[in-house]
Symmetry: C2
Subunit: 303 residues, 2 copies
């Protein structure tokens, strides 16, 4: 009864075609789905941009299809093609769309105070991350004041979902179905990485859920310890994650627990602020008045 949305026929159609399988819950939207996927893939290459081939390789779509879609997305301004390298990257159109929402999604400024409080209380380095496609994307970093630093991650870094204590909460607090899908998807690019096999990731998801926060001790960095918790929205879906790192000597079990509690407390505050912003969203933002005409809205100009 959570979602009011009246979806009558929630058909899950398995289309097997040319060996490619896709499951769609909305019919008649294949190309939108694909376009969105392509956008995510392009985004995952950050500012460097992705070549056509890379997008094809990362999307399990036909080259011609990808190309056609990228061209269309370019013309719509959602993607832009580097004149020199011909790489495709996210375009200003996305920025413009995002800007229309004002700062309502700017979790960075929303979380700012909370993160600083954590940093000040712990003297350790604190990170904020969001999900971006199949990656966790580090949005902000508040460097700790404690002399021995553990800077392994910088702003704009993106790690596969579930890899790292900042990325894991974004994965682990998703419903099982999505967790599986994501792990399966990432398995391809994590192939050969013995530290992040599908089985290991799945196990760590379980561990994270059980202890209610993510820890990264083992793995590639034996000298540091990171603790991460998600920021959940009203539907208990992770919208972001907050993560703290310190050298391992500063992280005895009891301090871990204390840190996790602190992170959760601040996470709750962030999600409250988020939800508040969501609930006032319905009110009119600006000066404009809408008068739906025959074919388009009429905007009252003047005043």
């Amino acid at each position: 009864m959570r979602y009011k949305c009246a979806v009558k026929s929630f058909k899950v159609v398995h289309i097997v075609r040319h060996g490619v399988r896709a499951n769609a819950s909305v019919n008649g939207a294949q190309s939108i789905r694909r376009a969105a996927q392509i956008l995510r893939v392009v985004a995952s290459f950050s500012g460097r941009g992705a070549t056509l081939g890379e997008v094809v390789a990362s999307s399990a779509l036909q080259k011609a299809t990808v190309h056609r879609m990228l061209r269309a997305l370019c013309e719509e301004g959602l993607v832009e093609q580097d004149e020199l390298t011909r790489n495709y990257r996210i375009g200003v159109g996305i920025f413009a769309l995002n800007a229309s929402m004002g700062d309502r999604f700017d979790i960075r400024s929303l979380a700012q105070d909370a993160l600083q409080r954590i940093r000040d209380q712990t003297e350790d380095t604190v990170y904020l991350a969001i999900r971006s496609g199949y990656d966790g994307l580090c949005l902000a970093l508040y460097e700790g004041t404690y002399p021995e630093k553990t800077l392994k991650l910088s702003v704009h870094d993106r790690w596969p979902l579930g890899v790292g204590a900042f990325s894991m909460p974004l994965l682990a607090f998703l419903p099982d179905g999505e967790v599986n899908e994501i792990i399966e998807h990432n398995a391809v690019r994590l192939a050969g990485d013995e530290l992040h096999t599908a089985a290991l990731l799945l196990k760590r998801v379980g561990d994270t859920r059980a202890r209610n926060y993510a820890v990264n001790t083992i793995e590639a960095y034996p000298t540091m310890c990171a603790i991460g918790v998600p920021v959940l929205d009203a539907q208990q879906r992770p919208i972001a994650s907050v993560c703290l790192t310190a050298i391992i000597s500063r992280m005895p079990p009891e301090r871990r627990e204390r840190i996790a509690t602190l992170l959760w407390a601040e996470s709750k505050k962030i999600s409250e602020a988020w939800q508040q912003l969501r609930s006032v969203v319905a009110q009119v933002d600006s000066w404009r008045t809408i008068q739906p005409g025959r074919k388009a809205q009429a905007t009252q100009v003047g005043v």
Copy 2:
């Protein structure tokens, strides 16, 4: 020879179907085009969100089509539906995509210094705007120190392209074809507004181009005067606009000229910074290494 992009067959196909006409330069991408249009429409309603009917009215598309697309966009996270009002608004997915580009599109911080310089030198209020769909969207405002203020515009306000001195440069410095298309598009919602008929807008576009900056004196606010110039990218396309407003008594013709020169100078600086950001974009951003595999990129994890 401006665009390197090798478009061989630039077919303009006029599809007349059920009385709806569309011109497409990329074939086989109707639904992407439509989806993008819907995104823009939804964005134009800001945080309030748009009802299904409003989107239909503003998009000249069929209700069923719009609904299906909105649902798909929702599932992809590019749009979200308010649980209460059922209005559709831009979703976090857009934020995530935008975040992947780091601050490369954040013209707001790029322009910050320039705008402050202008404000400090003139004591008047300065605005920064971008194009968002068929509107100019005010992104930032630096309030002047001169006692008599002329605050008519706030951050997040959106005015139809060409209406207002901050919005006009975004329109006027576009190629003719696009200017016409935009004016035509906006004509519907500006219907009945005698101050902004298509003919008047077109004339003002010409005037703006001739004098090389936009002025807004007449119109609805006889007490104030606004001057606006675009920020152009490497292809001379407007990416933003900078606008200054003051009470009309502070704006004799010679000062207008001086202001315009100042605005242009700062605009140039902004666009240099913009282009700089663009040119280093090709370099690798972060730790990740791409190894295109059979089906997906392989990301080197660790280090």
